[in-house]
Symmetry: C2
Subunit: 456 residues, 2 copies
């Protein structure tokens, strides 16, 4: 990285934090319709930042949901074009009482910036904009071509992006898709992710009597929606931690011994992991290591269960309704729609006497695995080495970015997942934060990547 | 009932409805601390109504919780003294969206008054005050002595009343305890309740990791508080509907064949009951009839279960915490404290790997059974026959009024449970209501009871 860029970053540091804070103040929660205006504000914020960074053709492009923010800078003929994908929406913040600070009032403490979206994904998108801005403002040129595609529905499963990408495939055409929405393995362990889990989501609603009933007058003689729900939900797993839905694992490609060896060398320590999470014990599917469990094995997870009284004290009620929100993480070659079919059949077969069940399907995303010996990915490895001073690991990641599979399928270009988050930064949880050290190192890494990709 | 009283009730009818409505407008939810002021307002309302009814020594008597409203009229020496117990507090109203009207804006429709507390217990307490008022205002005297003891914590298990009754046992001394907080068997089927189930309540809190985790980054490798909770809760019942807690039934006095025969003649029809509740099937402990199940068998009921995301759409989170609220209905000779010990031991033994559980105990109440051949109860039977034109049934009731057992134990007097509610009036549920026809018939019944108890 040349001196001008170094000086630029030093000079801009406080300004960067102020700008990032103004973005993090926008409560762009895509899952909650009450935040519709915040979605527009966040999209406009992104457009303004891209304009300020000297990018061109900045536009809010409508979808049937929240708009996609597009921008490009295409003045390096014969050079590769990088499509940068990110998202400006964030996860909901409840339980709010577990946040040490307002999730939308960014707070800096111990070298970390705390706010919803700090690491997932506003902070990381912001780095890309600032890396490009630094190159354009100090060198007046860009050694590659770039396009930005920043969406506002990633946290609800990108329901409208597949249609958008398909319709705009000429506009989005590129040589490489670059995404920073994943994590490294630790502060000194950058990692390139070559696989992601897929996702499917559903809700189960149980209905017993027409209304809640008094537990004294009716208790013992009528079905209780919560009894039925917990019985049904308990049937979804076996005692040894596997998913008990029939045929759930049928399409899973077993891990090869080579891959198991590769995952085994990743820096991970069960005892440390358990201690860090303050868990009395680890628990997961038997026959697999912790790393295998969260990177390369499918899951069925209860994300929310609710029914009946939740207030202070007690209420002697027999709930008429009970609900469960479920997501599965899937691996190749599980098909999310087929998995939803299997779960729906399981629910049908295991519905207890005296209640009815309804299954509502939400978003789905296919799992994804790419080759990690492509030039685009090897180039990213070199950039990480320059930025962080160590060679990166190659890993799979347990999370899902369904859009990765969509881009892969529609645009047919290599996908480079270059994450700067850390595993303990509370993605989707209270007190989400982002390391300011990784912000600095990440900027260096990205500038190097943009500068040197021309050699690919 | 003499003509003056009849005319009085006719003349006062609209005024009664206005007064009852003003009481029902007070949101005196004892379970929620935000309603503290409403509790005071409801207590004051009761005191004013007792004063207006010409009762004496009207007082709000402090407890460590909500005050007890006391009043008396003791001008019939040599005549028996009736202690009337009721409560001015009500259940919470959630889920609010299932109410057709504001629960605290009384609405009259099809001969029923709809509001939280309409039948449980404000409407029924109101009848007692109006019956006494009618006698005092038309005849200027009362053929018996009465004392009122109206508390404000019945819906949270009367935590402070035992101490109050014990301290005030001289003030409360009486020959009969009269309570209208139960239901009849149907519109033309008045019933005298000679037994009540006991109660114990607890909350289970499950804690997994120190905070919620991303289901992609961690899913499969860490315990999920909801998985653990549903597994634990499912273990509390057997597949045939019995409670699976070890030794739970050990102290239950089995139903005698005589008692089973008596319960079998009560007007009940399984098909009608199921249809009325809009249930796909009835479900309960095998080996017992529906009536036995809800009147005379113990239960363990999930009143509330919650953890994780409950908003719109999905959230890919592994919840760190999950909660269950549980109450048991108990029968003689189960001891509520001992039952809580057994459940706590069950939770300890069945806590899944990777989580910790905490049990919080709430209120308890012992079960109660009385002799139904006492003069006080036979007198009540006659009053019902006059008021409703049919002989009442003798029944046990599945609900719990823990204070009944307390009065029984401390004051050693017969307890007469003379209910005017109907089983489908949604006690503790949305759209609670009270039959205005039963209000009228109940007033006649009570006036007759107060007038003729002197013959006992």
């Amino acid at each position: 990285m040349n001196e001008h860029i170094k000086q630029h970053f030093s000079k801009e540091k406080i300004h960067h934090l102020e700008q990032l804070s103004s973005l993090l103040r926008i409560a762009s929660i895509s899952a909650l319709s009450a935040h519709k205006e915040d979605m527009t504000n966040a999209a406009n914020w992104m457009a303004d930042a891209l304009t300020e960074a000297c990018l061109e053709h900045v536009a809010l492009m409508p979808t049937k949901g929240n708009p996609v923010v597009y921008a490009d800078y295409l003045h390096a003929p014969e050079k590769p074009t990088i499509l940068v994908y990110g998202h400006y929406d964030v996860q909901p913040v409840d339980p709010l009482e577990l946040w040490d600070n307002d999730p939308f009032e960014p707070t800096i403490c111990d070298g970390k910036i705390y706010a919803r979206g700090a690491s997932d994904d506003k902070g990381q998108v912001f780095m890309h904009i600032k890396a490009i801005e630094a190159l354009l403002k100090t060198t007046k040129q860009l050694p590659v071509n770039v396009k930005f595609c920043i969406e506002g529905e990633e946290e609800i499963g990108s329901p409208h992006l597949p249609e958008f990408v398909d319709k705009q495939k000429d506009l989005l055409a590129a040589d490489i898709l670059l995404i920073s929405d994943t994590t490294m393995l630790g502060p000194d362990a950058p990692a390139i992710c070559y696989g992601l889990r897929g996702l499917c989501a559903l809700q189960i609603d149980v209905q017993a009597a027409k209304s809640d009933l008094h537990s004294g007058l009716y208790g013992g003689a009528v079905p209780n929606a919560l009894h039925a729900l917990v019985e049904l939900l308990a049937s979804l797993h076996t005692a040894d931690g596997a998913v008990a839905v029939k045929s759930f694992y049928d399409d899973v490609i077993p891990l090869t011994s080579n891959e198991r060896e590769a995952l085994a060398v990743l820096p991970h320590n069960d005892a440390k992991y358990q201690k860090q999470l303050e868990l009395p014990a680890l628990f997961g599917e038997s026959g697999y290591s912790t790393v295998e469990r969260y990177m390369a094995r499918p899951t069925l997870e209860l994300n929310g269960v609710y029914g009946g009284f939740q207030g202070e004290g007690t209420k002697t009620v027999i709930p008429a309704r009970a609900h469960a929100k479920i997501t599965c993480r899937l691996v190749n070659n599980q098909d999310p729609i087929h998995i939803l079919d299997l779960i729906e059949e399981h629910v049908r077969m295991h519905t207890p006497v005296g209640v009815t069940t309804k299954v509502t399907r939400y978003d789905t995303g296919r799992p994804f695995v790419t080759r990690f010996d492509s030039p685009a990915i090897q180039s990213a490895a070199t950039a990480y080495e320059v930025g962080f001073g160590v060679k990166p690991f190659y890993m799979r990641m347990g999370g899902s970015i369904p859009i990765v599979e969509v881009f892969d399928r529609i645009l047919h270009i290599p996908v480079v997942l270059m994450g700067f988050g850390l595993p303990d930064e509370n993605f989707h949880a209270p007190n989400e934060h982002f390391s300011l050290e990784n912000f600095d190192k990440g900027l260096r890494t990205l500038v190097y990547y943009y500068e040197h990709l021309e050699t690919v």
